[in-house]
């Protein structure tokens, strides 16, 4: 059932868990079933890679709970509802196999990039309602080789055998950082400029993107490059701005979502339930039951909010580290769950 994560390797060019990937199927699909070592890690011999760089990055995100609450009074337990745990249910599935790291395009270009596995693990603690160190964690993750070095190639989501979707975890960390006002990285400034563009003119204000991201000094240093592009019409003049029709609707939607919508990572979490209904190769026609009944299909993943009947779902608190003591110690539901 894919729980140990130690058999990661490349089969037919893609990082997989050998325990769940049948060479027979590869051969049946008409490919020569070549196996090779995972990428982005030093090869020791044959299929064996040195996992030390992987574990160093894993350790660098402090992958353990740093509790941010006092002991509850009179020996009771804190109860955290399923809603709160849904925030990190995907990230918690990680088995440290390294399939995502193997194919990470940013890490190929910069081996120091923290990488999808460690960042997904970081989100697992940033989003944990019991953790009290969120801001310090986010500060650290906004470093040079942190979240903003992800190149959004989506290889990690594609390869992960457990449905962790590390790229989405990185986006959650970005959203939470910016919600907390951590916006000093060029990546964050870049992202912010898209928001400003969308609510002011509707379309991306391309020409202003470079100074807004890199600062005016760096932009001036690139004048020659800019002139070369301008000659080909690749630097649209910022004035008069290219304004989308009815852009006030876009501005008002921004006001609405800022005032009333879910903030930070919650904006991404709200879509996970629907996206979890998509299986690989899903075109929207079949139900989940039909997809997972296909021969050779993946195991059905846990889907947020699908609480088994009779289970004590509870209702968690909605703010970080605001865990409320339950009236009674948590009990195992009748009939198990």
């Amino acid at each position: 059932m894919m729980i140990c994560g130690s058999c990661g390797m490349r089969m037919d060019g893609a990082a997989v868990l050998a325990c769940q990937t049948r060479m027979y199927d590869v051969a049946q699909a008409g490919h020569v079933p070549v196996i090779s070592a995972m990428g982005n890690l030093p090869i020791v011999k044959d299929l064996v890679v040195d996992m030390n760089p992987f574990w160093e990055k894993f350790k660098s995100v402090d992958p353990y709970l740093q509790p941010g609450y006092a002991e509850p009074p009179d020996g009771k337990e804190y109860r955290i509802g399923q809603q709160r745990m849904n925030v990190i249910h995907k990230e918690a599935l990680c088995i440290n196999c390294g399939c995502c790291v193997s194919e990470c395009n940013a890490m190929e270009a910069d081996p120091l990039f923290t990488g999808p596995q460690a960042l997904a693990k970081a989100m697992r603690f940033v989003g944990d309602p019991r953790d009290g160190n969120k801001l310090a964690r986010l500060e650290k993750l906004n470093g040079e080789h942190g979240i903003w070095e992800c190149t959004r190639c989506y290889f990690c989501n594609e390869r992960c055998p457990k449905g962790v979707d590390p790229r989405d975890a990185i986006a959650k960390l970005g959203a939470e950082s910016m919600h907390e006002g951590i916006e000093r990285d060029m990546g964050a400034k870049h992202a912010k400029w898209f928001v400003v563009s969308a609510k002011t003119t509707g379309w991306l204000r391309e020409t202003e993107l470079v100074p807004k991201t890199q600062g005016i000094v760096s932009a001036i240093k690139q004048t020659r490059f800019a002139i070369d592009l301008a000659r080909k019409g690749k630097v649209p003049p910022p004035f008069p701005p290219h304004v989308a029709k009815d852009v006030k609707e876009s501005r008002r939607l921004h006001d609405l979502t800022t005032e009333r919508g879910p903030q930070g990572y919650m904006g991404i979490v709200q879509g996970e339930r629907a996206l979890a209904r998509l299986a690989h190769g899903h075109t929207g026609e079949e139900t989940l039951e039909e997809i997972y009944a296909r021969p050779g299909a993946f195991h059905r993943p846990f889907i947020a909010d699908e609480v088994p009947a009779g289970a004590d779902a509870g209702m968690g608190s909605l703010t970080q580290a605001d865990t409320t003591p339950g009236k009674e110690p948590t009990k195992k539901p009748e009939g198990g769950a």
Partner: protein, 294 residues
């Protein structure tokens, strides 16, 4: 002719106007009547998804709603990033009635029609790689690309995540090759054709981005390609405009012409320079044009 809503996105409206003009000129030849959406904005390009995800969802819902209001089944895109952002938002909305209700309520409150009837977001590549679009393409590509070696470059967000895109095997895509061959060109194979061009971080982490960017260009160059074709204007911008920075960083000047998908098919279908606008490219397309004796 099949009516589709046409969302051109930011780049085709601005720095990659050549993509818009080539697409508009090509569309009737492959059986598509484009209804250009007017009241739409940027899809957020993954950046708004990361900065303010709830705003991202509303912006994309608004685009989907205006497409649906045109009474069409398909929202046509010409950009990988728009494709993924819109498809992802679409699945979020169509797979969760409560979420859709909340978003629709907000849309209506600012004067946007509610997103009720579903539309399917599809890239131009998918429309012309199979079915009727492909049959028409074969007929339209009368001038051909004989003797030209083309390296297909897919880019990331039209292939992955496959559970959202799902058109073809993300590790063994075939659509661009099929189109190149239908146009009479020769498709070059090389490993980096499914990898990242580095564009999303080309401003925030230029060195890392260049490390990614060099791979497809170098591999296509060494495989003897006359040009690279891509379905994504962001890939196009980095592959085309940042080659000068590659030269500065590595001392290698590849001079690799980069074509938009609509331009490649457009050349084969005999579109004029006024529609293809090759003059807007940073790396000259002249060697390809000369080889074709246009």
């Amino acid at each position: 002719m099949r009516k589709v809503a046409y969302y051109k996105g930011c780049l085709a409206s601005l720095s990659a106007k050549e993509l818009d003009s080539a697409t508009q000129a090509l569309a009737p030849k492959v059986g598509l009547e484009l209804i250009e959406l007017e009241s739409v904005t940027c899809c957020g390009a993954g950046d708004i998804h990361e900065a303010e995800p709830d705003y991202y969802l509303h912006l994309n819902a608004r685009i989907l709603a205006y497409a649906a209001a045109e009474d069409v089944d398909v929202l046509l895109t010409v950009c990988n990033v728009c494709t993924l952002n819109l498809r992802q938002a679409n699945f979020m909305l169509t797979g969760d009635a409560d979420l859709r209700d909340r978003v629709n309520e907000n849309l209506v409150s600012v004067g946007v029609p509610a997103y009720v009837k579903n539309v399917d977001v599809r890239h131009l590549l998918w429309e012309i790689a199979e079915g009727e679009g492909y049959e028409r393409l074969k007929q339209a590509a009368h001038r051909g690309l004989k003797g030209i070696k083309i390296a297909p470059f897919y880019g990331c967000q039209i292939l992955r995540p496959s559970k959202i895109n799902g058109f073809e095997d993300p590790d063994r895509p075939w659509s661009l090759e099929r189109i190149i061959e239908a146009c009479g060109g020769e498709a070059i194979d090389y490993p980096a054709k499914i990898k990242c061009c580095g564009f999303p971080i080309i401003q925030a982490r230029e060195e890392t981005a260049l490390g990614e960017l060099i791979q497809p260009i170098e591999q296509a160059y060494e495989a003897g390609a006359d040009a690279i074709v891509t379905p994504c204007p962001l890939c196009h911008l980095s592959l085309d405009a940042w080659q000068s920075k590659l030269k500065k960083a590595t001392g290698r000047d590849f001079k690799m012409p980069i074509l938009h998908l609509s331009q490649l098919v457009g050349v084969a279908a005999g579109l004029e320079e006024s529609e293809l606008k090759f003059k807007r490219h940073v790396v000259s397309v002249a060697p390809v044009v000369e080889k074709l004796q246009i």
